[in-house]
Amino acid sequence: MTYAYYPGCTQESGSKEYDLSVRAVCERLGIELKEIEDWNCCGAVHTSVTDPLLAMTLPARNLALAEEQGLTEVVAPCSGCYKNLRTASKAIQADPALRQEVNDAIPGHTLQGDVTVKHPLYAIVDDYGLEKVEAEVTRPLKGLRVACYYGCQLTRPRDEFDSPEKPQAMDRLMQALGADPVPYPAKTKCCGGAVLLSHTHIVVDLTGKVLMAAQKAGADCVALACPMCHVALDAYQSQIERALGTRLDLPILYFTQLMGLALGVDRQRLGLERHIVSPAPLLERLGF
């Protein structure tokens, strides 16, 4: 299995541990990731404010680059990047006039055919297969109660991979790893990451609700699949604790980091020390 790999801007900085763990886990499972050469920012939700066409052209350049490298399936670990690339890919597939417009606007590259986009969570759960993952587990995450946080752009807009209201893929993955996914009502509630700096109080409010719900459900940690959510839940956790007047102490882990632990990947390769809220005490308790 080979995919074009689109790291996204945060993988180099704020969420390097996600990048590290995705690569390490894929290597462990025999999934080949070929980084797209000279990839550019997907635009997030901000860039297209200055020009709506950028919502199509910025992702499309990356798809064209993948195509030039002979690859037709892209995985993008950041849910925001994933949503942008996938939306652009589908819109261009459906509308030849848009394809023309987009290709005219991208200097030096042309998207000829169809390049599909997947989030690594679904590439692993659907393409690779949960039974195979389960078979590869060497150190089951026994006793780990994990709240699976899907956030928004992983399952919305509605797509074929999972329910936007009650998604299951990450929970099933956690079960396959031997962990205990806890049900809680905020699985798909927004963290507010899009307005992290401009309207920080919204993040404190919304992320606070997610963390409180996870805590109330008895979670030991939160698993997620998006760097923006991670910053909100991890880096801003102390700010939220102060605002709510309560302790949360919830380590926020990427699902690939948990996979890495369960699959016996060397801890050093998972970036666990890079979190603001340290997972060390939890991992020690579990014997990792």
């Binding site: 180099e12 704020g14 969420s15 020009d51 950028l54 919502a55 919305r156 919204i202 880096a235």
Partner: protein, 185 residues
């Protein structure tokens, strides 16, 4: 009530705004919106205001700058209206009309400028551009503790990583004969 039917036409012409007239004001969107309490009107009322062509009120207002692009409204809308995309279109139209005072408007422009420069995001420059626009020194100072933490954990890059050819890259920001208007970053 100052009505501008061009405004309605403009929204209808955007990608995602095609079905705005289908709205029958059921309120599912506002009911689903996690930031409804922050907004002045909420997505349902914004739709109605678009129908009525109330351009100034919509574009000068704060609502679309609070939208967190969670897509809950789009998912649940029984008329299939891509409300999140409409909000994005409104942000763009607001910028064109010079409504740039919201902090998120300033952030978006700072982000776009940074990406235009490098091809990828670069947090120090992004923050510099943002705070230069907002001139909110207090907020900048309040970020320092977290910023230091991030720096120590290696989460804050010190040097940008560019695309190979930034000059060619920047052409993507000035499409020749592009249909949709753009604002100078």
């Amino acid at each position: 009530m100052a009505q501008n039917n061009d405004f309605l036409g403009q929204v209808l012409a955007t990608r995602g705004g095609e079905r705005v007239m289908d709205c029958y004001q059921c309120g599912t969107c506002s009911g689903s919106c996690p930031v409804f309490a922050e907004m002045e009107y909420g997505p349902r009322q914004i739709m109605h205001m678009i129908h009525l062509g109330l351009e100034d009120e919509v574009l000068s207002g704060p609502d679309m700058w609070y939208c967190v692009s969670c897509y809950s409204c789009t998912c649940r809308c029984p008329r299939g209206i891509e409300i999140t995309d409409v909000m994005a279109a409104l942000r763009s139209l607001a910028l064109q009309k010079g409504f740039t005072q919201d902090k998120e408007a300033k952030f978006s422009r700072a982000f776009a400028e940074t990406v235009r420069q490098h091809g990828r995001s670069f947090e120090p420059e992004l923050l510099a551009r943002y705070y230069a626009r907002t001139l909110d020194l207090l907020a900048l100072l309040r970020q320092i503790p977290l910023g230091l933490q991030m720096l120590l954990k290696g989460k804050l890059p010190l040097l940008p990583k560019n695309v190979e050819n930034t000059r060619t890259w920047r052409e993507i920001f000035t499409p020749a004969g592009g249909k949709e208007k753009k604002t100078e970053c």
